[in-house]
Amino acid sequence: MKILVAVKRVIDYNVQIRVKEDGSGIVTDNVKMSTNPPDDNAIEEAVKIKEAGKATEVVAITVGEEKAQETVRKALAVGADRGIHVKVDGILEPLAVSKILQKIVDKEKPDLVFMGKQAIDDDCNQTGQMLSALLNWPQATFASKIDVKDNKLEVTREIDEGLETIEINVPAIVTCDLRLNEPRYASLPNIMKAKKKPIEEILASDLGVDISSRIEQLKVEEPPKRKAGIKVANVAELVQKLKNEAKVI
C-alpha cells in the first residue's frame, strides 16, 4: 500500500501573528514558519503504518512557493521515503490545491491520501473533503484513530457529539486530528539522511488545472480588542463582582 501525505507550510503555531498595516494580509517576513501541526500527525501515522509493515511507501507532497519544500524535507527526516514539491507562487485556495493533488494522485496512484484536518492559517478545513469529491473516494475526516485492515480502514472520527467510527474501502482520504498520535522528532542522523532523499519538483502551471482565485480578499483587520479586565483579591470578591457588577450569576 502506498500513502501520499500532503503537508502545508504555515506560520508556526506559537507565533502571535500581526496584521499588515495596509490591511492587505498578515506579516510573514521574518516570521517563524513550520509544518501545519495536524499535517505532522498525518506524516507520523503514515510512517507508523509503514513501520507496522502495512504500507510499502510514504510520499510527502507540498504545494507552494520555494521555501515550502522545507516541510517536505522535514517529512523525509521523520520517515517519508520521497517527496514531491508542486511549485506555485502566491496563496492558493483549497479548491485549487485539491485539483493539483488530484493530478498527482492520478499519476502516483496511492492507495491512501492523508493530510491534516485543517490548516491553522486560513482555518478553511476543506482540502481533504474536496479531493475526496474530485476522486469520488471515501473520506474519513477528523480522524483520531486509524486501523488498517487489508483493503479497508476503520477510522474513529471526532465529531461534536463525541466519537464516530466508520469503515472505508481503499482508496480513500483521511484527514487527521491532533489526537491521532504523537509526532516524533527528527534525529540528527535522520535529518542528514533526509537530505539525500529525492524530491521531485513539478511546476503547478505544467499540470493543466485551473488554479485561479475565486475569492477576493478585500481586507484583513485585527479583531476588536477586549477591554482590559481587573484582578480580584479573593474568591469572595470574585463572586460579589459576578453577582452585582457583571450580573451573570
Binding site: 502571535q16 501573528i17 498578515i26 495536524p38 483549497p94 479548491l95 492559517d121 482555518d123 478553511c124 478545513n125 476543506q126 482540502t127 481533504g128 473533503q129 474536496m130 475526496s132 469529491a133 474530485l134 471515501p138 473520506q139 475526516t141 477528523f142 483520531s144 476503520e154 472520527r157 465529531i159 461534536d160 457529539e161 463525541g162 466519537l163 464516530e164 467510527t165 469503515e167 472505508i168 480513500a172 486530528d177 491532533l178 475565486r214 475569492i215 477576493e216 480578499q217 478585500l218 484583513v220 483587520e221 485585527e222 479583531p223 477586549r226 479586565g229 481587573i230 484582578k231 480580584v232 479573593n234 474568591v235 469572595a236 470574585l238 463572586v239 459576578l242 457583571a246 451573570v248 450569576i249
Partner: protein, 317 residues
C-alpha cells in the same frame, strides 16, 4: 434565486444550530429553502417547516441517510443546487465534513465559517485562530458558505408554515460504511449553546479533579469545557474541547480554571461576554482576555468558590 439551507438534525429533531444557520441564510436572501436528509425525519421536517424564515422544505429520506455520511448526502444537494444561488450550513463537524465535498462537485471555492454577512457575496470570517478577521468576496456563481453558529442569533422556531416537498433519494455510496457513534449523554446544557461554561485545563492535573469543575457547573447550570491539553491528557472526552480545532463558545459567562490561555484556546472562547480566569500563574496569557482574574491555587479557590456560591440566595439559571 433562493438560498438552500442544509438542516442539521438527529433524525428525530433539528439540532439547535440549524436555527442560527437559518437566520444567517435569511440575511443573504429572504427566500430560504431548507433541505432535510435522513431517515424517518417527518417530525424534524415539520419543525423545520415551522421556522420563521423558512419558505419551503425539501425532504429526502432513505436508509443510507440515517448516519449523515457526507458521501451519501453530497450528490442529493449537488442535484438540488441547480436552483439555488447559495448553499448554507453550520460550520460544525457535520457541515465541515459535508460542505467541501459539495463545493468541489460544484467547482466552487467554499467560504468557511463566516461570522457576518456583509452582502450576498461578501462575508467576514476569522483566520489564524481568530487573531485576524478577513473580509472576502466570492466570485463564484454558486456560493457554498458555512456559518459559525454562535455568531448569529437563532431565528424564531415558530411562525413559518412552509410546504414540505419530497425529493427523490440518490444512490448509496458503497465504499463508506457507518459502524457506530459514541455520543456522550449529559443532562447539562450543550456546550455550544450554554449560558455559562466552566472549563478546566492542564492545571486540573487529573480526570478525577474534574469533579471540582462538575460541582461548580451543576451549581451554576453550566456546560463543561476543557482545553486541548486537558483532553489530550485524557482528563475529559474530546466533545468538551474549546478552541481553534474544537468548539467555539460564546456564553454570557466563561470560567477558565487552570487554563493558561494558548492562542488556540482563546480562539474558542474570547468572544464570551464575561470571562473569569483562575490560575496560579499571574503571567498566564488567559488573564489578558479575562474581565475578572484571580491569581490563586485552583485547589484552594474552587472549594471557596463553591462555598461562596452556596451563600447566595439566588443563582440565575
Amino acid at each position: 434565486m433562493a438560498v438552500l439551507l442544509i438542516a442539521e438534525h438527529n433524525n428525530k429533531e433539528l439540532r439547535p444550530f440549524t436555527l442560527n444557520a437559518a437566520a444567517a441564510a435569511s440575511q443573504i436572501d429572504s427566500d430560504v429553502h431548507a433541505v432535510i436528509i435522513g431517515q424517518n425525519t417527518a417530525e424534524a421536517a415539520k419543525q423545520l417547516s415551522g421556522l420563521s424564515v423558512v419558505k419551503k422544505v425539501l425532504s429526502v429520506e432513505a436508509a443510507h441517510y440515517e448516519n449523515f455520511t457526507a458521501e451519501n448526502f453530497a450528490p442529493v444537494i449537488v442535484k438540488l443546487a441547480e436552483n439555488y444561488s447559495h448553499i448554507i450550513c453550520s460550520a460544525n463537524t457535520f457541515g465541515k465534513n459535508l460542505m467541501p465535498r459539495i463545493a468541489a462537485y460544484l467547482d466552487t471555492s467554499q467560504v468557511s465559517d463566516i461570522i457576518k454577512v456583509i452582502s450576498p457575496d461578501t462575508f467576514l470570517r476569522p483566520i489564524y485562530a481568530g487573531n485576524a478577521f478577513a473580509t472576502i468576496k466570492s466570485n463564484d456563481n454558486k456560493k457554498c458558505v458555512t456559518i459559525r453558529p454562535t455568531s448569529f442569533d437563532p431565528c424564531e422556531s415558530t411562525g413559518g408554515s412552509a410546504s414540505i416537498e419530497k425529493v427523490e433519494a440518490s444512490e448509496e455510496f458503497s465504499n463508506t460504511k457507518f459502524v457506530k457513534r459514541e455520543e456522550i449523554k449529559s443532562d447539562r446544557p450543550e456546550l455550544g449553546t450554554a449560558r455559562i461554561v466552566v472549563s478546566g485545563g492542564r492545571g486540573m492535573q487529573s480526570g478525577d479533579n474534574f469533579k471540582l469543575i462538575t460541582e461548580i457547573a451543576d451549581k451554576l447550570g453550566a456546560a463543561i469545557g476543557a482545553s486541548r491539553a486537558a483532553v489530550d491528557a485524557g482528563y475529559i472526552s474530546n466533545d468538551h474541547q474549546v478552541g481553534q480545532t474544537g468548539k467555539v463558545v460564546v456564553p454570557d459567562l466563561y470560567i477558565a480554571i487552570g487554563i493558561s490561555g494558548a492562542i488556540q484556546h482563546l480562539a474558542g472562547m474570547k468572544e464570551s461576554k464575561v470571562i473569569v480566569a483562575i490560575n496560579k500563574d499571574g503571567e498566564a496569557p488567559i488573564f489578558s482576555v479575562a474581565d475578572y482574574g484571580l491569581e490563586a491555587d485552583l485547589f484552594e479557590a474552587i472549594p471557596q468558590f463553591m462555598e461562596e456560591l452556596n451563600k447566595l440566595n439566588t443563582i440565575q439559571k
